[in-house]
Structures are given as structure tokens and as C-alpha cells.
């Protein structure tokens, strides 16, 4: 009751802020849901690869029990894992190697330390950098909540000396995203094998009575 009275007594600006905050939270949850939905669809398409690999073996009664199904399906899934993970791991490996060699031969250890430094020659020089620690906050219902955009520390600008960090971070990101997708594919195949390895060999009792 006391809280409702407090809300009514809020100024117009404070009420607008609360509504905006509510909308941001709703949008964030919806965005997470949407990303999850897309990932789920991607995973389902990878799960179908198991059906593709195993359907004929089951149809022609070459694989006849769940243990055999599990071992053959996992074997095939691991082979696919070897194909899918080779490129991202190779990219990450080669990327680390040339960066390490560059630092080793130039003796410039500061390059690694400055990797994300926006003030000198880090990757963050080409990004917007916000001062999140000093974000304006206000007290609402006894809680300290964010009430404004944080101050801007850096606007994107190109620094020639930062080129190794630009290349290293960009290629690392590509390799990592690729690795994440190959891992998601492996997870979805494993889940599909787990889901099907018993169910496809079970005959409903009703069908036996016909």
C-alpha cells in the first residue's frame, strides 16, 4: 500500500524513467528469448544430421539394439566433430602463433598488455568505450538504479601502431564464434542421439495387439 502511494507521489520524470526501465527489461528478455529460439532452430538442423547418418542403418536392420546404435552414432558424430572443429582450432592456433612470434622477435611485450587499451594501441581504440563505473544512478523504492547513459570515454579512431591487435582480436573472435557453433552442433547431435537411442527400438504395446 505504501509503495503505491510512493508511485503516485513520484514526479513525472521519475514515472517516465520507471516505465522506460520496465520496457528495457521486457525488450532484453524478449531479445534473449529470440536469440535462444534461433540457436534452438540451428541446433535442431544439426540434430537432423544424426537422422541422416543413422536412418538407413536402422531401416535395414544393421543396427538392431540401443547400445550398438549409441556406439555407431557417437562414432559418426565424433568424425563430424573432427571435420567441424579443425578449421576454427587451426585459425585460433595459427593466430596465437604469429602474434607470439611477432612479440618474441620485436621484444615488444607491451603489445600484449595493451591488447584492449583504448588510450594507447589496443583493439578498443576502434570501439565506443563507456565509463560504466560512473553511470548515473538514482534511488527508487530504496534501490539504486541506473538512470542515464554512462559518460563516453572513447570514440572510434584508427591507430596505426595497433594493427597487430586489430588483426589478432578480429581473427580470434571469428575463430571463437566458429568454435562455439561447432560445439553447439556437437551438443545438439549428442542430445539427439540420447533422445533417440532407446525410443526407436521400442514398439508400442498397442501395435503388438493388432
Amino acid at each position: 500500500m505504501n509503495n503505491i502511494v510512493t508511485f503516485i507521489s513520484l514526479s513525472k520524470r521519475e514515472q517516465q524513467f520507471l516505465i522506460a526501465l520496465f520496457l528495457i527489461i521486457i525488450a532484453f528478455i524478449a531479445l534473449v528469448g529470440l536469440i535462444g529460439h534461433v540457436i534452438k532452430k540451428l541446433m535442431a538442423s544439426q540434430g537432423r544430421r544424426v537422422d541422416e547418418m543413422m536412418s538407413q542403418l536402422v531401416e535395414h536392420h544393421i543396427v538392431t539394439d540401443h547400445r550398438h546404435y549409441w556406439s555407431v552414432a557417437m562414432n559418426k558424430s565424433h568424425r563430424l566433430l573432427l571435420i567441424q572443429m579443425t578449421w576454427p582450432l587451426l585459425i585460433i592456433g595459427v593466430n596465437i602463433l604469429w602474434y607470439w612470434l611477432l612479440i618474441h622477435f620485436t621484444g615488444d611485450n607491451g603489445l600484449f598488455i595493451d591488447m584492449f587499451n583504448y588510450q594507447t594501441r589496443g583493439f578498443n581504440t576502434i570501439l565506443f568505450v563507456f565509463d560504466w563505473a560512473n553511470t548515473p544512478k538514482s534511488i527508487f523504492f530504496g534501490m539504486s538504479l541506473v538512470s542515464g547513459w554512462p559518460p563516453l570515454l572513447n570514440t572510434p579512431h584508427f591507430v596505426l601502431e595497433a594493427w597487430p591487435n586489430y588483426i589478432f582480436v578480429t581473427i580470434s573472435l571469428i575463430g571463437l564464434i566458429w568454435l562455439v557453433f561447432s560445439n553447439l552442433a556437437f551438443i545438439s547431435r549428442t542430445l539427439r542421439i540420447r533422445q533417440t537411442h532407446r525410443s526407436i527400438f521400442i514398439k508400442p504395446l498397442e501395435s503388438l495387439n493388432k
Binding site: 524478449a30 528469448g33 543396427v63 568424425r79 566433430l81 560445439n183
Partner: protein, 84 residues
């Protein structure tokens, strides 16, 4: 509308379950990288025996035989002997 609400509810579930999802993802990633390393080692060993790791499994060979025999069964006798 129902789909939007479903996505919203899913978003909420993903946020609540994100630590568990992250844990499962990391465990799978560690396993996958270890498996990849072992498979690379295995493929190198197999390579020096004159085969590849991607050669057919015994089950695949059996499947090929079954499919070939089925095809033979369905091929008319006059076509098989070459008589038109």
C-alpha cells in the same frame, strides 16, 4: 501473439537457467577439444597404416552390401544379362 509470449517466456527461462547452460556448454567444449586432440592423434596413426579415419565403418560396409544386393534383386534379369 502466442508465439511472442512463448519467446518471452523462453527468454525468462534462459536468463534464469543461464549459469547451468553455460556450465553444460563449457563441459561439452572441454570434452570436444579433448576428443578432437585424440582424434587428430588417432588419424595420424591410422594415416601411417595406409588408411584414413574417414574410411567406412563396418556397419557402413554392410549397408552398402545390403543396398547393392537389393538393387540386384530389383534389376530385371534381361537387363542384367545385357539382352534387350
Amino acid at each position: 501473439m502466442i508465439k511472442t509470449i512463448k519467446i518471452f517466456i523462453l527468454g525468462f527461462v534462459y536468463i534464469i537457467g543461464s549459469p547451468l547452460i553455460a556450465l553444460i556448454f563449457v563441459l561439452f567444449l572441454i570434452y570436444a577439444i579433448l576428443a578432437w586432440v585424440l582424434l587428430v592423434g588417432k588419424s595420424i596413426v591410422i594415416f601411417f597404416t595406409g588408411r584414413t579415419i574417414f574410411s567406412d565403418l563396418p556397419e557402413d560396409k554392410e549397408l552398402k552390401k545390403v543396398i547393392a544386393s537389393l538393387k540386384q534383386k530389383h534389376t530385371p534379369a534381361h537387363k542384367e544379362s545385357g539382352i534387350e
